[in-house]
């Protein structure tokens, strides 16, 4: 039911993240740090963050006070998702994250 509602409420569940930003950075020690934010320089502290592997959420947390998340680098292909609400999501593919 909820799913249907969401579908109704957001006909266009397209990614509308022109105000949400995230970039990630490989620390070179087996961890990745992602930093989120908004285009006006606002902090993203408290905003949800999760990792997708094969379309499944394998890790879910929230941005810390510095609008950052540091996590262990998954082995396979993955993508990091910054989720500030409907239309404010940013996906970053693991393959694009460099040291």
């Amino acid at each position: 039911m909820k799913k249907i509602l969401i579908g109704l409420a957001f006909l266009a569940s397209s990614v509308f993240a022109h105000t949400a930003i995230m970039s990630c950075f490989d620390n070179g020690d087996g961890t990745i740090t992602c930093e989120g934010g908004f285009s006006d320089g606002s902090s993203a502290s408290g905003v949800k963050f999760h990792i997708l592997e094969d379309g499944k959420k394998t890790f879910e947390t929230k941005m810390n006070e510095d609008s950052e998340v540091t996590f262990k680098k998954p082995i396979g292909s993955y993508s990091a998702v910054f989720d500030a609400g409907e239309g404010h999501q940013v996906h970053v593919k693991g393959s694009e994250i460099t040291e």
Binding site: L5, A9, S13, S14, T19, S23, G28, G41, S45, G46
Partner: protein, 840 residues
Amino acid sequence: MKHIKVALAGQPNCGKSTIFNLVSGIEQHIANYPGVTVDKKVGYFKYDNYKIEMVDLPGTYSFSSYSLEERVAKEFIIDEKPDVIVNIVDASNIKRNLYLTFQLLEIGIPVIVVLNMMDVAKRRGIEIDSKKISKMLNCPVIEASGSKGIGGKDIMKGIVDTVTHAHQYEEFKINYEELEPHIHNIEEKIESTQSVLNKRWLAIKALEGDSSIISHLKTEFNDIDEYIKNQEKLFHEKYDKDAPSFLASYRYESADIIHHNAIKEKNLGKATLTDKADKIILNRFLALPILILFMFLVYEISIVGGYKLTDYTWPILAAFKNLVIDILPAADFIDVPMITDFGIWMVNSGNALMNYLPIFFILFALIAIMEDVGYMPRMAFILDRVFKRFGLHGQSTLPLVLGGAMVGGCAVPGVMATKGIADDRARMATILSVPYMNCLAKVPFYTLLLGAFFKPDMAIMMFFISTITLFIAMIVARIITATILSTRETAPFLMELPPYHLPTFKGVIIRAFQRVWLYIKKVVTIVLAVAIVLFAMLQFPGLDENAMKVYEAQGTKALQTFDKKVKSSSYYNEVDTKQKVSTLLNYYDGYRAKRMVTSSREGAEDVDNEYREINPSSFKFIKPKRDKEAKKVNKALRTLSTQRKRILRGMKNDKVESSLLGMAGRSIEPLTRYAGFDWKINVAFLSSFAARESAVATLGSIYENNKADDMRAEEAMALNSGYTPLHAVAIIIFMILTPPCIATMIVVKMQTNSYKWMLFAIFFPVFLGIIISSVIFSLGSFNNWSGVEAMIYFYITVVLIALIIGLFPTKNINWKGGIQSKAKGQYNVYENNFNIGENR
């Protein structure tokens, strides 16, 4: 180099702008006509040793004074007296277009008729003998096709020829038979006038009851009013006709004579392509689904496409930000120079707005396409009945959709799109109700609150929030049109449904650019000015000494910890003073910031090389690779960076709390208490005025507690704040109604042309928001409602009110005061007496 001034006149949908673009090329600028919100386009071009200035008058069906556009067009002619009037005529619809041509010819300024869209006319089997028309009207007639780029040179040549032969110009006269003696009488009456305008034209216009001409004459003859009325009365008594109708019929007859003699239509009565298309597009059952599909497409293209574009534009903005940070003086550990703070603040404020440009550009281009194609009036035709009930207009559809249907939109393009609404009252109501629509920038804020208080009911709450806005906007429109806007002029809904046209690429791009440029020029500049004020309000009076001492102690402690950790490293001598550490820290943070905005491998390598060059010996601490000793420093450095951020954040929060804005938030607490808002929430709202997302950050930062690292803002809010979901609902309701952002304010000011309305647009929602959230909060507290219950009751109430207004038409009272100008009230009184069609 001689100068020629040309006025470009024509009826709406005659393709005037394509001709304008064709002739004036790229050198054109848009301004407003003085004191009104009508666009004034001016283009310049050179031809044959003449510099020609071409002013695009607003498209009007006639040259009377009943609409704003007509007044503006006429006042331009009166005040600026152009050398030539170029009249664009739609060749496929000559008869109605000539009605205006005859009025232009009478002004007493040389006219050039341009038959535009000749290709369309040919396709429709209309044969036009333009030489014959030229003979009959005694003025040059040029064949052109703006969208095909044909006729530009001929028009320029025609203008120059006309000016060089101006001395041979002979006044154009229509013989109005029965009316002639009266025209003559008035002409004699104003014989002594200083006006350079043609006296006969002034007399005819005066008889028509043209208000701007009469006031023009009144400056010299203060009894002219009486005299004209008397002449009209005499005419009426003699022939039982009134002058305006008589003149209009006469002009149409004249147009008919030309039509009869110079034009042959072969396919008369055959269905055109437009007729066939409208059978589907305006079909009773298909019209609405098609309209929704189009709106959805506009939304998708601008949003999805715009988002894809921001992927490319954002790094540019971020790079600019990093560049500014590089130039500004660096921080000395926790001591950040104010100029640096200020610089970053300004760049952030600017970037937040510039980031919308790709979206706006696509939106404006799509709007231009819809305008050119001819779908806009049809959209109004389909939905007018619904909107009329709420005091709006069929043409309010697009602004409201852009303002945010469903997921969220933006009030800035929404308000900008109200320009074309013909009915002044509906236009104002639309401008003032669009900001209530669901602004996209509010979404993160709702998400934060819902995540904290309504975890299990998030979906249904979001559904309520995103669908309620339209109802609220409609109710607000109804309220303000019935009260403060009730005496504003309305216009009859007489809209041409023009034939469909393919838009020209050039025209669309030019218009999109012009609108985006307008946004940059007006909005961004003012927002930056406001940002300065806000910065000051957040900075001063600043931290007191005691607080400073606490933070300095924290800083010293962090440095000591760092020192302890790196003592054992062989590189200790490179980081053994505060100075060295501080420089290294800035180097490290700068590197991180740059790396964060590069996504490609090449970009990353470029940043590495750049930093290696800046300082090779420091670089090993950033990328220690296998250097064990450097790794020690790297680890300590990361910790130190985090600690510094925390200290700076603490300082910032303290600063905000004790700042002028914080004081303002505190001072209104007694008022907002009834809605359950304490000063912290007030501050969040106040700062959200600058940009909505910052409300999230502000609330987040105010509620941060430094004890537990894994306690996020929202949990801290739910646990430590003593807030209940009912509080959250009150906040959400206020946020739904909250005033638009500064950028919206500025476009409201632009479109209403008054600061008074801008202030109204700010304070009315605040007032409404406080009242409604107080009512809901108090009722909820009294009845022990849960948050979701409160929201449901609120939702049902709003929807019911909207439905009641929509289903039961009420009659507006449109009059006020005793004596009114001719333009106001009269027509509305009729509307009241005839409400048929309402009760089918």
